[in-house]
Symmetry: C2
Subunit: 229 residues, 2 copies
DNA sequence: TCTTGTTAGATTGTCGACAATCTGCTTGTC
DNA sequence: GACAAGCAGATTGTCGACAATCTAACAAGA
């Protein structure tokens, strides 16, 4: 028997496609925080009935990027400065743990994939495609989680990533400036290739690139605007 | 204005009740791992239509205790030794982080609640109600997460707890022995009341009570049985 | 005997319609 | 004018029926 491993077939249900569409719309900021999702309107736009749409929305509620109130509606989650801080502080802890687990698992395939994803970020940066830049940067970071060989940890990180992607997208949208041209992931990639695990963990803990400081400033801005209302 | 804080009203939709029912059935082991959930049968038993049932199942899939394959069905997740180990190792990391965050927040209300929940565990133990014992023990542990004031962390822990509760329930069912009579949480509670945070974290990291060792032995048993098939 | 095509039954996915609930406006009363 | 009651209109929650898909049993052919 030939040793050829096929990837699983796409589960082509309307529901799955709706989930993907909605998630993308939320994570890129096309659907803004707090915005209400009108079931009838969306189902008509997508040319599907409300049943699969509602099931899709239920999934995204559990995924943490939608929130639902009975008989009132389903809304994109609100983003507060505290949410961003909370997500980031947890992310740091998880990163440290993931590095610890992934460290002995690093192999040739790991380094290849590391370079590949790093390259993807650089390409998106050159193309000034901010959405793609955020996406690829998070995929780069996700590598240590994929190599950590802990399914619960990976799942947890993927949930967290949804939010982080949303936060960054909002941040980018808000300041609508050209994206930083230089590459901020060099150190991270280099440390993961090196032999000093502690150093890699410290880098993750203290200076997760993806300029967190700016994101926080944006978050604080949100707070102020909210307190005025 | 009187300073009286009301608890939120129950969101009485069939969906929410179905979620609660199913979750309970899964977490107590009434629905066994790998078992398929027949929509028509369940909807008839519960006297509801398939729509809210399906939405409920979609939520539980995202919650991680059900898994779904398109056009094939929805199943209770399988439990492997690795799953248990993964969940536990992550739990340790999160516990340490939660203690760190909750530590400065401890106040009179915290200690009261700590004693209250500890008492609930002891009561369930005396009553030899194993299901309730597991439930209360996890609630006791959840206190530090509730006091950590980090919504993402709390959410993450609640997801993890679902699984842990299921694992313990299965474990208890498998060995169907009377439950340990003596109280294993004394040290944990005492350390949380003390002033040495590091000690509390070490206790959490090294010896989370809820006899992990036994659970692991059970998990390994599962592995062996699985490999025979 | 093994493989491949066919078919019937069961189960999941989707649809359109109806019921329950909320919201905002109007109306009437003081 | 202020306030409560009641009435549309819109929106969410639920239902029963139909369509798409899978599974397993069976038949046909090599």
């Amino acid at each position: 028997m030939a040793k050829l491993d096929f990837s699983p077939i796409a589960d082509t249900t309307r529901r799955a496609e709706i989930v993907a569409l909605l998630r993308r719309a939320i994570l890129t900021g096309q659907l803004e925080p707090g915005q209400k999702l009108n079931e009838l309107r969306i189902s008509e736009q997508m040319r599907v009935s409300r049943a699969p749409l509602r099931e899709a929305m239920r999934e995204l509620v559990q995924e943490g990027i939608l929130t639902s109130i009975a008989y009132a509606g389903t809304f994109v989650i609100d983003v507060t400065a505290k949410d961003i801080i909370d997500a980031y502080s947890l992310n740091k802890v998880l990163d440290e743990f993931a590095i610890e687990l992934a460290w002995p698992q690093r192999d040739a395939r790991f380094f290849d994939e590391l370079d590949r994803r790093h390259e993807a970020v650089k390409q998106a940066t050159r193309a000034k495609n901010t959405t793609r830049q955020i996406e690829t940067a998070l995929q780069l970071h996700g590598l240590i989680y994929e190599w950590a060989d802990n399914s619960v940890l990976l799942e947890t990180w993927q949930r967290l990533t949804s939010r982080l992607q949303m936060y960054f997208a909002l941040h980018q949208r808000a300041r609508n400036e050209p994206v930083p041209a230089e590459d901020v992931h060099e150190t991270y990639v280099a440390l993961l290739k090196d032999s000093d695990m502690r150093a890699a963990q410290c880098h993750a803990r203290e200076h997760i690139d993806l300029d967190f400081e700016e994101l926080l400033a944006y978050a604080r801005g949100l707070e102020k605007r909210a307190s005025k209302n």
